[in-house]
Symmetry: C2
Subunit: 459 residues, 2 copies
């Protein structure tokens, strides 16, 4: 029921066998599932603040009048997923019953519809639960769009004209930083070298780094072993979770640095643990281990705080973004010279369009984009965004790596593939987020078999 | 069942007639209701962005082992209230079953518990749905606290020592702007003149302004009549909603200015309608009508945008806050010199403690606090906050007025009272948010009689 790799056909007889266009596809139903994976039991994903995440998703299924189905999700940490599910069920009114072409003709306007409901927007606007829910729906529409066009998402965007790309973006509240005119001009300029870059992607993929080695809850022995495994697999960039006791952080930083040597990169991630002045102090203390960046040193809401930390810990670079609520926020991080590394999130931002907006601003401010990933489905998503960034927007891989975490990929029909610490360019039509029907059944919360079993065993 | 104006007694026999202490009170149950008022049908509350609000609330009832009951709410605009209800029901786990003293002994720690749930915080942190929900619970606990102490909320706080006040605040992420030491010292200094200020409040109340005249959906004739009624009632500050067509805004501004004359104040509110550069342009165009402030000229997320607008439209003053997500955000608006007027919201911020934090920062940065109110219950709440600000924090009424909108007060057991355009100091124990049982039944959504009737008539 959920899987479809066949060519696009309607389920009715009339168009059987014909290639469908966007205006042939009607979204007949929107289903939203609450999926949760019991990852907290193995300390997977643990850090100084997120101590026990159960990687989860509000998972959207767009059924159509054809064999085609669109899939989208927003990523969560367990409890509260039900809120994103409810919000997505409400926002589904802007999707259900519509011809796909009525959405894809103006994806910028579609985003505004979802984020600007006159009563719902009070709960944000454009942040938190309702923005995460909008992301699931917007991502699902893009997935369906790409499937109709029979292209992987990155290619769907790469094949658009600059004008078409810009039309998918909501420039509201960011036009003091970039205008649609600037964006079109920039995208036109970046056509130069496109084919060569595509060849690079096809040959080598997009560079990745691993966060699998340094989770907060892992023992020294586990970290040591994971570093050795990582080096053997060709990884060159490793991330360590910090924000614990100073001596604990230092001991682990020393351990991982001694394992990976000085030629490989070590990134540190404090996951919002510190106040501004504490972040300056602690980052300076850890500078001896030569961090390639310090990530989320303080509140994700503190633009000016990040700017001050960046000034005061230089040359250590500052990264943030997985909790940046929207494009208006990223705009200011860039205007305030508050970040060295822009970590877009495919679900925290409201889908493909808002991510494109932020990648364009990053190009304007000359800040490398290194997407946040991990969790469930985020790696599947960001591989497309990084490909788009390289092909169409930044045109560069310099100082750019995309996060990779080796969890839960087995649930995806077309999972990410890593080769020599690079993401392999996806080839299957869509946005790579379709999960196996068995997964949708087993991990459904709270009624799936996995949760019933955990409940029964007191888990 | 919901009403209790009797002295504090347990329902058990053992302590009958004795005055209860905080450690006698156990919160036995937490109920959360979805209340909605069909205000959109009369264009009440309409502005350039919020076109059809149905003033609503996630309404919390804390039942105890005594006759005392605590009440709290968070304000919403209708659709989506169910999300705040669900979130509050989840967060109720940090309240249910606890002795009240275990919370009031460290209200700062209690706030951190509610805002820092290790899985739930991913949905924020400290913003949107989950923060609004936290506010309802925190406000309810403060209401119960004040009832046990048999004091109106403002007096509960005013009677605390500086050290006790500071202990209710979470200084995380704001200690680069104010520390607890600075706050204690400031509160101590402001003890001077306390009794005189209390006398002023008792005699004259706290100055208010009216937003009832200038809603977006009102006709010119309605506005004209409401201005005349307002002047007759002693109002001196009037707010107009702008953000429509330029000529439309100008005509209405001219109309209201001609009605109220040049000696009364006219405030304008664009409700986030404009981009940064548009806001500068439009505010300059409206400057001829001498606005006392321009409110929400652009995205509430745009700190740097507000700072630029403020620089470029001076001497028109810039106000914002009803959509400011938390204390970290207000901190930056002040650090960036982005606002002239700080409009705290009793529910957008997570309750009394976070409002105290912002009022203290406003004192530190010498920015007047003019609370946002209106909706349902917000006037009832902010009259206490303004009294606390005047008595303990700012010590001044200069350039300070608290919003008042004359809607829905009839549903409250102890509603606000306005005398000569001033809020009368509340005298009844608690935080003034208890509603009549009949209201809780009739406006319950979707099963209350009001909604059943509207449904039946196709409303």
């Amino acid at each position: 029921m959920y899987r479809n790799q066949r060519p696009c056909e309607t389920s009715g007889d009339s168009k059987k066998g014909e290639r469908l266009s966007l205006s042939d596809i009607q979204i007949t139903e929107v289903r939203v599932l609450d999926l949760r994976f019991p990852t907290s039991r193995a300390k997977i994903g643990s850090d100084a603040v997120n101590k026990d995440p159960d990687y989860s998703a509000a998972y959207v299924i767009l059924e159509t009048n054809s064999d085609l189905v669109g899939y989208g999700l927003t990523f969560t940490l367990g409890r509260g997923t039900e809120l994103c599910v409810s919000a997505a069920q409400y926002l589904a009114r802007y999707v259900r019953g519509r011809l796909l072409s009525s959405i894809t003709d103006d994806l910028g306007a579609f985003s505004r519809q979802l984020t600007n409901d006159s009563q719902f927007r009070w709960l944000g606007p454009e942040k938190g639960v309702i923005h995460l829910a909008a992301a699931a729906l917007i991502n699902a529409v893009w997935d369906l769009y790409a499937r109709v066009e029979a292209k992987p998402l990155w290619q769907l965007v790469a094949d658009m004209t600059p004008e078409e790309i810009v039309r998918t973006i909501d420039f509201r509240y960011i036009d003091d930083a970039i205008t649609s005119e600037w964006a079109i001009e920039h995208l036109k300029q970046k056509r130069t070298g496109f084919n060569e870059r595509l060849e690079v992607l096809k040959q080598s993929g997009y560079p990745a780094y691993t966060t699998s080695a340094g989770w907060f809850g892992y023992s020294d022995d586990e970290i040591r072993q994971l570093c050795r495994d990582g080096l053997a697999d060709g990884w060159t960039h490793f991330k360590l979770k910090v924000g614990g006791e100073p001596l604990h952080d230092k001991r682990r930083a020393a351990l991982i640095r001694s394992e990976i040597g000085t030629s490989n990169k070590l990134m540190m991630d404090a996951n919002q643990k510190w106040g501004v002045e504490e972040a300056v102090r602690r980052t300076r203390e850890l500078a001896e281990f030569d961090p390639w960046w310090m990530e989320e040193p303080t509140s994700p809401d503190d633009i000016l705080g990040h700017a001050r930390i960046k000034r005061e810990v230089s040359p250590v670079r500052i990264a943030t973004g997985e909790h940046c609520q929207n494009r208006v926020f990223f705009k200011q991080l860039m205007q305030a010279n508050a970040i060295d590394v822009c970590q877009i999130d495919s679900c925290r931002l409201a889908g493909v369009g808002e991510n494109l907006a932020v990648m364009l601003m990053a190009a304007r401010f000359e800040i490398p984009v290194c997407p946040h990933a991990g969790g469930v489905g985020l790696c599947e998503y960001v591989q497309h965004l990084s490909a788009i960034d390289y092909l169409c927007i930044s045109g560069s891989m310099e100082n750019r790596v995309t996060e990779f975490v080796d969890h839960l990929h087995e649930h995806f029909v077309d999972p990410v593939r890593i080769r020599n610490a690079h993401y392999v360019l996806p080839a299957v039509p869509g946005y790579s987020i379709e999960m196996y029907p068995q997964t949708l059944r087993d991990y459904n919360y709270p009624d799936g078999s996995v949760w019933k079993k955990l409940g029964a065993s007191g888990g």
